[in-house]
Amino acid sequence: MSEALRPTRKNEQKQPGWQRLSPWAVLLLLLSGGVTLVRQHLPLVLGAGAGLTMLERLGLRELALGGATLLGLAMLCSLLYYRRFRYRCDGDVLIVQKGLLEHREFKVAARHVQSIVTHQPVYMRPFGLVLWEVETQAGEASRIALPGIRRECAEALERELRSSTDLAPSLQGQRNATPSEDRASARRAAPHFTLNGKAIVLHGLASRSIFVIAAMLSPFVRPLERWVHDVLPQLDLAAWQPASPWVTIALGILLVVATLSVLAILAAWWRFHGYELFDEGDRQVQRSGLVHRQEQTLSLSRLQVVEWVQTGLGRLLGRGYLVCHQYGSSGGDAAESRRFLVPGLTEAQHEWLTVRFWPGYAAGQPLQRVDSSYRRVLLLRHVLLSTGAAVLVEVLAPGQLSLLAWGGLAGGLLLLSSALAQWRWIATGWAKENSYLRIRRGILGQRTGVFPLQHLISLRVQQSWLQRRRGVATLHLELANGRQTLPYLNAKEAHRLADALLFSAENAQLA
């Protein structure tokens, strides 16, 4: 648990064991901060032309002078930050003191640590430095980083925190933690899962990176359009251009998709090159990264939900990835990329790894479908939405479509609505397997969450008047990674499942 307190400096400065960041960290912090600043503002400066306008308005010399002043200020701040930043391990508590204007002290008890991440960006490698992060059960908001300590110090710190938790086996759940020495030797042993080149390529294609990259590149569309408009007429491309405009459009789309796919593969390679997963008893450790090396430790006793994610293309390619959720993990793709993620898995590999993460779990049972009235409700929703959209089109552009065209549009929308409702109904399923619950949702892309019943945080049983008439209910389950919903279950089944979940969650605490 981390907490911010005002340090009693007089007493604590005398205490031994305080350590500082590496002096190189100041320079590297400055560099990385500058790079981040430039990266974040580059699309704005280039895209809107604000950079050129500012240059013309202020003048090159004045701008350089301003930049030098800012750099000087940044260096001064970095030096002060370095002076104030110190840390030490006091028994099983990591203490960090930092702050430029406001002095803050953070205390992290080893028993509350749920994950440790070590990054080594390329610019830190020559100095043997790493960026070390620790996260408690309070989630991402509680994350504390030591930005630039020697790798040996990071390893020693991790060992110290681990040895503290090893002394309290009751806190580690049912799994017995192996001693640090054994685990160190286990780490030197072969990894129990690695990624080959083909798996990385398929993960790049099957992941959501392609959409993320498209969104990142969108500010460059306008400048590119201007450039094409200015330059293209001067080039003699008529000989290369296909005769049909449709072929040209298709080729253009293909080129864009191919470029995005290549970039997505490169992004996957950047992050997951040399991926290795080690089994260290109570912990799983993964290392990966082409240039920016990253090591993540997942404490299995803190693991809350394991989620198997497959995008639409991923299902076609037979690939997906596992996301391991712990406490305080917020949703969204950006947050998901910071989670403990095992990429490029086949169906068989995913099942094998899930059993490694959840010993005793066996996914033999077929998923049960929810009540068929859910399909009718979905169809009704889709039809209402389509009708609303059609009315809007008619209001905005009256008389544009003939009666026949309206008939065709209505038929097409009805067919599409029925297909979507059917797919979603088929995809939504659940299974109670011993003390675990498996829930699947999605249409083209699907997510299947597996979690022990006892990991429930709270639940809600919801019934509309229509559901009461039909004898069905919707179950909302609050878990560490957000909400899982089981819509339109048979009311008796929903209550039975709710009772079983509550019994497991409440009984686990008493045991």
Partner: protein, 179 residues
């Protein structure tokens, strides 16, 4: 700490459907009505004050305000009815809160997950002598359960019960931490 492991009959586990729920304070309905009335009055005033820019529509000026006022009256009446049907329950190991009129929602929070409790009240609630109990859990991103419509005495009693449970859980944890 003694460890027990009695056998249980899965057919006779305590069920949510059998949980006894008590209605919240009857003062919640008028309190909600006042709060909703203030909200809809503001919207009605806004609709009445905003002039129509087109002259052809100037004659229709009062109608949006009247429509919003009518909608507000229905919303207040439904809110009153809904507030009268709200209920809560305390069991040995969880808290239950039921709300909703057309869509009924029954929320259950295991006490084992409870981290801290807050008591809140706005001026209108204070005028009616009501408070809200807000329960937070570990890893949650906000309030996980809000018990509305508690009288001060009810809120105090529930708070005491929840705090006693929290303290006993904390002391059990400390005992189990000891070698």
């Amino acid at each position: 700490m003694s460890f027990t492991n009695d056998s249980l009959d899965p057919q006779h586990l305590p069920t949510l459907a059998d949980a006894r729920l008590a209605p919240v304070s009857a003062r919640l309905a008028p309190c909600q009505a006042v709060l909703r009335a203030l909200h809809w009055l503001f919207l009605t005033a806004l609709a009445a004050a905003l002039p129509f820019l087109h002259e052809d529509f100037a004659a229709w000026q009062p109608w949006p305000a009247l429509g919003i006022a009518a909608l507000g009256t229905v919303a207040i009446a439904l809110g009153w009815w809904e507030a009268r049907r709200r209920a809560y329950g305390l069991r040995q190991h969880d808290v239950i809160y039921r709300r909703g009129l057309l869509v009924q929602r029954t929320q259950v929070l295991p006490l084992a997950r409870l981290q801290h409790i807050e008591t809140l009240s706005n001026p209108v609630e204070r005028a009616f002598g009501l408070v809200r109990l807000v329960c937070f859990t570990a890893g949650g991103r906000g309030a996980d359960m809000v018990l509305e419509g508690m009288t001060a005495a009810q809120a105090r009693a529930i708070r005491q019960h929840l705090l006693a449970h929290l303290e006993s859980t904390a002391s059990e944890r400390i005992e189990s931490d000891l070698p």
